[in-house]
Every structure is written in structure tokens, then in C-alpha cells.
């Protein structure tokens, strides 16, 4: 019976279509998708750079501005002749689909087919760690511009990878540092935690609780609340938090769960009664959720342009970006970190006096580079950039059509203040590579 029904449906579809028309339109659609996927460098001995970013899947939303802006930064470098003034940069973009298998496949293809000497990317840490295996084996530079698991530079360390954002451990510790300041300033005494009930959620919550107890011994944890991954109804948790009347709520909530929670908590009026610090709010979210984002919550950011407006490099990024895409668009955290990564490559080549990946890798080890967040050094033992974390209260200002972090109360936590204390500790974590 099932066969007959489906056969009937298909024959109906077929009858309503002109076969020749279908073939022609399919072919046209196929050809239209074959758009060029590289930014050409012109003549000369080129230096090929692969950019592995998700344009489909969970991370696609955060790839838009890096993909728009990277060719502009490459063009700036190429105006000077390219790396060392004689090696124009050629960018090759690939979609990782936010899947590790796709990421490693694309990394291999970039190395073997396009002969790239460096890979920038990617968004997901799991994909970045998959790519690390391929770059290490092929001795290719890898600039992890935005993926920020601490494992990238610790447990899964390879000397070919450089991390440009604060890693996950640094971010957690930065939240505690910022919280200490806020607790003292606001006289907070008790708090509640709400976390995703799986390993990451429990780990993030326990690190925060332990570190906060050390930093602010007087603070009291009233209750730990846990929700299942992929929760769609947060109302019982929101009611429970409100009933406990804490001064603030710490959330170990990520991705889609965080978005759902924010919407429901705002509708229930939670943020009018309880402060909610520490949520990751990149500029992308500040722009996209400008109407719905609750004001007054305290967010964490990795590379906000509005906190670095006095930096000439950030000024240049904004100008370059807005000259091309209009003054109502701004480079987000992700774009800025990718721009830093490409400029870092340029500076690395200058320091090495060579474009050989091995020479650049050696030159950048422990080196200090100019970034849009100031002059920052790579940590000698794991290539982690001394990248600051930014914690601040979400407020409206007359300067932008979207909320930013309140410049008056913004806390900037230096990377070197919150990374693992000693290089011996880091080296203990780093695995041996054959």
C-alpha cells in the first residue's frame, strides 16, 4: 500500500513537470553554486592561506563578518606587496559545516590541493582539534582565531597552532575576577547557579564555584539547579531562582539553551530582580538581539570593538570594514580576531624574514605582536595569546543602534592574569606527539 501511495505522488510530480525544464534548471542551479571560493592575489609567488569556517551548521552565524572582512585585510597586506613585500596572500575559503569530519577533510584538501601554508580557523573547538592533527602531520601553520577550548593549547597542543582569543579556562577565571569586583562594588551576599546537566555544564559550574569561594570567601551559594541539555521550558527553574531571591545567578548555559533561557527569563521578569553575570555575548549577539536582549545583564566578550576604539589597529579595522559594508555594520569579535590572526601572520613572516611555516612558527613562539586589543605576547609554552576578556553590563548608548557593555563599569581581565599559573603545569597537560 505504501508503495502505491508514494508511486502515485511521484508520478503526479513528474506529470506536473517538464523534464527538459527540470534538467536545465538543475544544471543552472549547479553552475550558480560554482562561485569562486578564493580571493585572488594577482601575480607573484603567492602565500596561500586556507580559511576553514562554517557557513552551514551551528557556527554559520558567526562566520559572516570574518568572511566579509578577511579579503579586505589580505588586500591591505597585498598593497604592500604581500608577506615580506613579495608574497601576496591568496585566501581559500572552505565550509567546515561545524562538523569535525568535514573540517579535517577540508583541511586536507586545502593542504594537498591548494598547497596552503597556513590555515585560519575555525569556530568549533572540536573541529579545530581535528584540524590540529592534520596541520601537525603536514607541518602547516594553524591560527585558531576564535575556537577557544583550552585543550587546543594544552592537552592537544602542537607547536604549529596559535590561539588568538582567551581560552575557555581563561574566560571562566576572568568571570570570577570580574565577579569579585562586582560583589565588592554591589555588596552581593548570595547566589544561585543554573547549569546544563552534562559534563561541560557541571565542570564550568564547579570551577566557577570553587574559584569564587577562593576569591570572595563571604559569598554564599544558596542552590545548584540543573536542567537537561536541549531544555525548551525553563519556567520551573526561573520560578525557583526567583523564590530563592539571590543577588545574582550564575549560568553554565551554552548555545541554543542560553538563547532559550534568555528569552524566557526576560519574559518572566527575572533580570529585573536578579543580576545575571557571565553570559557570553559577542558583538554579533549584541547587534542581532538588540531588541530582545535584556538590559542590565552582565556579559562576557572576547574582542569588542567599542572597548578598543583608542587602538589604531581597531580604528583601521572599523574604517576598512565600514568603507566596504556601510556605517551601520561593525566588525564583530570573531571578525576582529580573524583580522588579528592574518596580521599576526604578516608580523610573524617579518620577524622570521621568511615565509616558511616552520620559520614563522619559531619566530612567533613567545613573540609580541600588534593586535586590535593592544600589543600582546604569545605564551612561550603553549602559543596562547595574552588575550584579555571583557566583562560588562549590557546598556543602551546613543552612539550605536544596539546595546554595548557599559564603558563605565567594564572590567578588562588580562589573559596572563588568569591563565594556568606555570608553564610546568601546562606542559604536564600537553600530550606527547609522535
Amino acid at each position: 500500500m505504501g508503495d502505491r501511495i508514494s508511486d502515485h505522488k511521484w508520478s503526479g510530480v513528474l506529470k506536473s513537470m517538464d523534464r527538459r525544464e527540470f534538467i536545465l534548471s538543475s544544471a543552472a542551479a549547479g553552475i550558480l553554486t560554482m562561485t569562486p571560493r578564493f580571493a585572488s592575489a594577482g601575480s607573484g609567488e603567492v602565500f596561500r592561506v586556507g580559511v576553514t569556517l562554517p557557513t552551514t551548521g551551528a557556527g554559520a552565524n558567526y562566520s559572516v563578518r570574518p568572511i566579509k572582512g578577511l579579503p579586505l585585510i589580505a588586500a591591505q597586506i597585498n598593497k604592500r606587496g604581500g608577506l615580506l613585500g613579495k608574497h601576496p596572500i591568496e585566501l581559500h575559503f572552505r565550509d567546515t559545516q561545524t562538523k569535525p569530519a568535514a573540517g579535517t577533510r577540508e583541511a586536507r584538501s586545502l593542504i594537498l590541493n591548494e598547497k596552503v601554508q597556513a590555515i585560519l580557523g575555525t569556530w568549533s573547538s572540536a573541529v579545530a582539534m581535528g584540524i590540529q592533527e592534520i596541520v601537525h602531520e603536514n607541518k602547516i601553520l594553524h591560527f585558531a582565531a576564535t575556537s577557544n577550548s583550552s585543550k587546543i593549547v594544552n592537552e592537544n597542543y602542537t607547536p604549529y597552532t596559535f590561539q588568538f582569543g582567551p581560552n575557555s579556562r581563561m574566560q571562566s577565571a576572568a568571570t570570577v575576577v570580574a565577579m569579585k569586583t562586582l560583589i565588592e562594588k554591589k555588596g552581593w551576599k548570595k547566589y544561585v547557579t543554573l547549569g546544563a546537566d552534562y559534563e561541560w555544564g557541571r565542570d564550568a559550574q564547579s570551577v566557577f564555584v570553587k574559584e569564587l569561594a577562593k576569591a570572595s570567601p563571604g559569598i554564599e551559594l544558596k542552590k545548584e539547579l540543573w536542567f537537561r541539555l536541549g531544555e525548551t521550558d525553563f519556567s520551573p527553574y526561573i520560578s525557583a531562582v526567583m523564590a530563592l531571591k539571590p543577588d545574582f545567578l550564575f549560568g553554565a548555559i551554552a548555545g541554543k539553551d542560553n538563547e532559550t533561557f534568555l528569552q524566557q527569563a526576560k519574559a518572566a521578569g527575572l533580570f529585573k530582580r536578579v543580576a545575571y553575570p557571565g553570559v557570553f555575548l559577542p558583538v554579533t549577539e549584541l547587534m542581532q538581539q538588540r531588541r530582545t536582549l535584556p538590559r542590565g545583564i552582565i556579559g562576557l566578550n572576547r574582542c569588542p570593538f567599542f572597548a578598543n576604539l583608542d587602538n589604531p589597529m581597531m580604528q583601521s579595522y572599523i574604517k576598512t570594514f565600514q568603507d566596504e559594508f556601510g556605517t551601520d555594520d561593525w566588525p564583530d569579535d570573531f571578525a576582529c580576531m580573524y583580522f588579528d590572526a592574518l596580521n599576526g601572520l604578516d608580523q610573524g613572516a617579518k620577524m622570521a624574514g621568511s615565509v616558511s611555516p616552520d620559520a614563522i612558527k619559531d619566530a612567533l613562539k613567545g613573540a609580541t605582536i600588534d593586535t586590535c586589543r593592544g600589543r600582546l605576547a604569545f605564551r612561550d609554552c603553549n602559543n596562547q595569546l595574552d588575550a584579555p576578556s571583557y566583562v560588562g553590563e549590557v546598556v543602551d548608548t546613543p552612539d550605536y543602534p544596539f546595546p554595548i557593555f557599559d564603558p563605565k563599569t567594564l572590567v578588562v581581565v588580562k589573559g596572563s592574569d588568569v591563565w594556568l599559573p606555570t608553564c610546568e603545569e601546562v606542559k604536564k597537560l600537553q600530550k606527547k606527539r609522535a
Binding site: 500500500m1 505504501g2 508503495d3 508514494s6 511521484w10 510530480v13 513528474l14 523534464r19 527540470f22 534538467i23 538543475s26 542551479a29 549547479g30 553554486t33 560554482m34 562561485t35 569562486p36 571560493r37 557557513t55 552551514t56 575559503f93 572552505r94 565550509d95 559545516q97 562538523k99 569535525p100 569530519a101 579535517t104 577533510r105 577540508e106 586536507r108 584538501s109 594537498l112 590541493n113 591548494e114 573547538s125 572540536a126 582539534m129 581535528g130 590540529q132 592533527e133 592534520i134 602531520e137 577550548s149 585543550k151 592537544n156 552534562y198 559534563e199 561541560w200 565542570d203 541539555l229 600530550k431 606527547k432 606527539r433 609522535a434
Partner: protein, 344 residues
């Protein structure tokens, strides 16, 4: 309710008629053997992936093409195999970060019983149902396993996955690993071929065509389905065991429904009614993916158009086009012969 599964070559052929799968297989075998002669290493990587995913799709087709049930959670066994190998390889890694030959083979071998055991436990519940209920239950169990692997950080490393799965020095060479994969996959296909031509294989076809009648003649339907489910899980696990050392890493996505969809796509593209169909599907899917994504970001659109075209114009898969063309040729030849005989 049985799911519609195309039945062409899986039924008995008239005597003297060549077996299309055998012919295609005999053509593909030397072609695969000669892939390393192509310039560069990239085609060898692509061919390795074709073989691994082809074996995975073939294992799925034991359930779909032969038994007439569709599993939306078949990647669970592929992923179980990949994780079993990855975890054991990681456990056996030496101070240098490499694994020895014994450890490498042991890690791969363990994947088969682990996946088979997983399929046995899950299959025990699933084979009680057929049709859409079978499909939905397989999806539910698949997603359950995915979430266990995704969430169990202390054991599976959660959503970060496991990296650094470096095989021993000999197999780090892409050509050596390719020939190793070719041998493993060829052996697995021979065993599957034998199974498909055995009384057990014909019993599966009978279940697909009419399970009630099969039960009436004394066949234990559930047990037969369960045995086949376990076999399919074991072969998927074997494919999974090759994946980790090939990609040097595994991630929970390997157990997800997207990965299960790959096996379905490959079987549909190649032809689920043909023994070798899923391998042909893997050649088309993986081969196109490897080269199309160099030129466009719109891979999902590209593969969508291809699948639409196959479903509309070759619902039996690409091999059915070849099969139909050969049949027309034979009919024409037989017709010509008859006409010649009729002439005085």
C-alpha cells in the same frame, strides 16, 4: 507495514544472465587497486574515504535493501566502532604518543564485537516492530547513544571528541593505509556477498517480500531480523574502526542522524536493490563532495539536486539505469535473433 525497498538484483536471476553487481565489482576492483597511480595524494585520501563509507553504507543496506526495513540510527554502530577503536588506541598509546602494531590491530578488532553487542541490545527491542515504527525506534536509540557519547566527558571526552589517533609508522603512509583499507573492505564485502547468497540471505529477502508468509512456513522472523541487525552493526563497526586512524580523530557527530543519512543517501544514489549499489553511491557522493566543495559552499544544494534527480529519474539508483539499458540491449538482441529465425 514494510518499508518500500527496491528489489531487483536481490531476487534470483534467470540462468545464464550475468550478475550486474558482480560485473560492476569486477570493474571496480582493479580501478580501486590503481587509484594510487593518480597524481598526488589527495585522490588516495578520497578513495580511502569512499571505501570506508561504502562499507558503512553496505552494512546499512543489509537492513534496508535485503530486509526491507529502514534504520535512521545506523550511524550509532559506525560511531560505536570508531569510539571503541579510538578509546583503546588512546589507552594503548606509548610515551611517544604512537600505538604499536599489536595495539593498533587489537583496537580495530575490538570495534566489531562492541558494535555487534550494541546492535544486539538495541536490535532486541527494535526487531519487534516494522516499518515506520522500526525506523523511529532506530532513530531514538541512535540519538540516545549520540547523547551518551556527547555528554560523557570523563570517558568519551564529550563534544570535543578524541584526537591524536596516530596509527603505527607503516600505516601513517597514505598509500599503505589505503591498501590496508582496500583489503579490509574487500574481505568484508566478500563475507557480505556470501551472506547475501546464503539461505539466510534468501530468508531476508522473503521477510522483505512477505514476513507473514515467512512466519507461516516456520521461519523465526524476529530472530532472523535480529541476527541480520547484529551482522549489519558489526560491519558498520568495522567501517568505524577504520575511520579514527584515517582521520586521526573521532567526534560524537559520527553517531548522529546526519551520519545515518549518509548511508541512506549512498544506498539510494547507487541503488539499494543491488549488492554493490551502496559502494557506487559512496563513489558518487564522496567523490563529488571532495571536488565540488573546492568550488562552492553550496554542497547541500548540490547533493540535494543530485538526490532529487536520482529519485525522479532513476528511483532504483544509478545502477538501475545501467541495468535497464543492458536489459533493453538484451531484448533488442533477442528480438533480432527471433526475427532472423522466423525468416525462411
Amino acid at each position: 507495514m514494510a518499508m518500500p525497498a527496491p528489489a531487483k538484483e536481490t531476487t534470483a536471476k534467470p540462468p545464464g544472465q550475468p550478475d550486474l553487481s558482480l560485473c560492476v565489482g569486477l570493474f571496480l576492483a582493479p580501478a580501486f587497486f590503481l587509484v594510487p597511480l593518480l597524481p598526488g595524494e589527495y585522490p588516495v585520501y578520497v578513495a580511502t574515504e569512499i571505501l570506508i563509507l561504502g562499507l558503512f553504507a553496505m552494512s546499512f543496506n543489509l537492513i534496508y535493501g535485503y530486509m526491507g526495513q529502514i534504520s535512521f540510527g545506523h550511524a550509532a554502530y559506525f560511531g560505536l566502532g570508531a569510539y571503541a577503536t579510538a578509546l583503546l588506541m588512546q589507552y594503548l598509546q606509548q610515551e611517544t604518543g604512537a600505538v604499536g602494531y599489536f595495539g593498533f590491530f587489537l583496537s580495530m578488532l575490538i570495534a566489531v564485537p562492541v558494535s555487534a553487542l550494541g546492535a544486539l541490545i538495541i536490535g532486541f527491542f527494535i526487531v519487534r516492530l516494522t516499518g515506520i515504527y522500526f525506523a523511529m525506534l532506530s532513530l531514538a536509540f541512535g540519538e540516545l547513544l549520540f547523547y551518551i557519547v556527547f555528554s560523557w566527558y570523563s570517558f568519551t571526552k564529550g563534544d570535543d571528541g578524541i584526537q591524536g589517533l596516530l596509527p603505527p609508522a607503516f600505516f601513517r603512509d597514505v598509500y599503505n593505509f589505503y591498501y590496508f583499507t582496500l583489503i579490509v573492505v574487500a574481505c568484508a564485502l566478500l563475507v557480505m556477498w556470501r551472506i547475501s547468497r546464503s539461505p539466510f540471505g534468501y530468508t531476508l529477502r522473503m521477510l522483505r517480500e512477505n514476513a507473514q508468509r515467512a512466519a507461516f512456513v516456520g521461519i523465526n522472523v524476529r530472530l532472523t531480523m535480529l541476527v541480520n541487525f547484529v551482522l549489519a552493526g558489526a560491519f558498520a563497526g568495522l567501517a568505524g574502526s577504520l575511520w579514527g586512524p584515517f582521520q586521526r580523530s573521532v567526534s560524537p557527530a559520527l553517531l548522529g542522524w546526519h551520519e545515518s543519512g549518509l548511508a541512506i543517501f549512498m544506498s539510494l544514489i547507487g541503488g539499494a536493490g543491488y549488492f554493490i549499489g551502496p559502494v557506487v553511491g559512496s563513489i558518487v557522493y564522496t567523490g563529488l563532495y571532495a571536488y565540488v566543495t573546492r568550488f562552492t559552499d553550496y554542497w547541500p544544494l548540490t547533493i540535494g539536486v543530485i538526490i532529487l534527480a536520482v529519485v525522479l529519474f532513476a528511483p532504483g539508483g544509478l545502477l538501475s539505469l545501467l541495468d535497464n539499458a543492458l536489459r533493453r540491449l538484451r531484448e533488442k538482441r533477442d528480438g533480432d535473433g527471433e526475427r532472423r529465425e522466423r525468416k525462411p
